[in-house]
């Protein structure tokens, strides 16, 4: 597999990146998200499938949107998705021929 899904962020990836970035850097955003995820996500005008995978902590589908992996990783830790859950979700996308062959 390649190191990156997108060599330039698509608009979909950008939109998800924007949410994950603001959520973990703006002072009151994490509390607002925890209080009402749907209302918080509505601020961003995301396509519904992107909003759904964030709200559902669907790590595999978040990855598949092309989201920046560092923002995804920080989000997993920041909203306390259990380490083994996020690892298993990512690993479920690995096919044997993907491994370290570029």
């Amino acid at each position: 597999m390649a190191n990156w899904q997108e060599m330039m962020p698509s608009t979909r990836a950008y939109l998800m990146n924007k949410v994950l970035y603001e959520l973990h850097h703006k002072p009151d955003d994490l509390a607002a998200y925890k209080a009402d995820a749907e209302a918080y996500l509505a601020r961003f005008g995301l396509p519904q499938d992107l909003a759904d995978c964030i709200r559902n902590n669907d790590v595999a589908n978040m990855y598949l949107t092309g989201v920046n992996p560092y923002l995804l990783r920080a989000h997993c830790i920041g909203v306390r998705i259990p380490e083994d859950v996020s690892l298993a979700a990512l690993r479920s996308l690995l096919t044997h021929e993907d491994y370290n062959n570029g």
Binding site: M1, L90, N100
Partner: protein, 273 residues
Amino acid sequence: MAEITGIYTASHTPVMLNFPDRIPAELKDEIFGAYKAMGDDFMSGKPDALIVLSNDHLHNFFLDNFPAYCIGCAESYESPIEHWLHAKRRVFAGDQAFGAYLLQEAYQADFDPSFSMEMVLDHGSLTPLELAGVDPDLPIVPVLINCVQPPMPTMRRSYALGQFLGRAIRAYEGVDRVAILATGGISHDIATPRMGMVNEEFDQTFLTLMEKGDIEGTLRYATDFVHTAGNGCEEIRMWMAAMGAADGAPFRRAYYRAVNDWYTGIGIGRFEV
């Protein structure tokens, strides 16, 4: 004219601070001991200032404006910026004049870095400094390289930036003794299906090429095979910059272990400048 007292390379990962106990205690102690040994060696050179070659992980920089290279020109640097990082909040002294000098010299040498007077350091700088036990009062100049969001500067350009930094540091008259810490890499995947599957073969080949002093071979290997060793391995751009600053000085690895449960090839080394 400043003397470079040491050029060190070391991996970083927030897992060391957030989930250290995912590996056996003896292994953790061995790794933390290796960082401390690096710090002791580093401090024995009695540096007056430290250049930290590292990368931002989308904290200071976002897709609104993402620099390829950025030189810190602040009086001080708070850390960490991550609300979730298990680390004591610290303030590192900055060497503003040194940062400003490097920035201006870079332009004269046809490099075009951005600069920041508001940088807040993330785990990429904090983790190795913390584990090495570096005194936060030692003034630092952070030099950040984009390794986290394609498109990214090339390995070769990062090597050339390091060559420039080495020359500019040695010509600087503001301090007498300068150490360089380049931190990132080696093999690791962040939030990909391969996360936790360290490519040890890549790391061993990479370290061996560096130990042989094969600069051209190292640059080619880093460029052509980084895609086999994970998105986190893109951080070896800092090792390329360190190799440039070392100006041909031999490299010695001090420690290496592929640590799958920390998701990272933990490598520590130094150039014998």
